[in-house]
Amino acid sequence: MTFEILVQEGGLVKLSGRLDAAQADRAKAALDAVKGPATLDLTDLDYVSSAGLGVLVQTFKRLHDAGHGFKLTNLKPRIRLVFVYAGLDKVLQLD
């Protein structure tokens, strides 16, 4: 299961596949290119571990500190549960 991340104009970012510790650096490099409000579409994200969550939290903090919005959309139920178990549903906007 490969991991793909596509940063589009307007701050839309599509993630798909498996975001594990082996892919976290690649995800961070792509997300570092986002400089404004961001919406992450997780429709096709099948797996995320704490390493992936860490990248998303870092990106949220960076954008939040700069006054920009950051939200995650279309999470599969099992992906949403990981955010809940990590306590991140209270920090991040999950639509």
Partner: protein, 130 residues
């Protein structure tokens, strides 16, 4: 029970996931359970890579258990001791770091750590309803 050795690096995550999927499939478990088991193993393994200083070229991953309970045992050889069951207190939500251990605690049913002859042995159990 099945056991396999994997190189002690992040490149083993996907082969480990396939190992889990094959095992759960052979035991008739719902394939959806692979997600949870993959996650637990990744968190254990990456914590060992991060905090278990030293380590040999390979780790051993064993899967077993009875009925609806899966037992996962990760052995890390020739390594300094790092006990994830005595990790620092949880950090506030949204603080980077510590998320892996938090997920392990929340998602597993039990976790046990042993250290003998420079081998770190982490065993966790997870109930997987059929």
């Amino acid at each position: 029970m099945v056991e396999r050795r994997f190189p002690r690096n992040l490149g083993s995550l996907e082969p480990m996931a396939q190992f889990v999927a094959d095992y759960l499939g052979s035991r008739g478990f719902d394939p959806e359970h692979s997600f949870t088991v993959d996650l637990l193993i990744e968190e254990l393994f990456t914590n060992q890579l991060k905090y278990g200083k030293g380590g040999g070229p390979e780790v051993s991953l064993r899967l077993g258990g009875e009925r609806e309970e899966l037992m996962v045992t990760l052995r890390d050889f020739d390594v300094e001791s790092f006990d994830p069951t005595f990790a620092p207190p949880e950090r506030p939500a949204g603080t980077p770091g510590g998320l892996g251990l938090k997920l392990i605690r929340v998602m597993s049913d039990s976790i046990r750590y042993e250290y003998k002859e420079r081998c770190a042995i982490i065993t966790l159990t997870k109930r997987l309803p059929r």
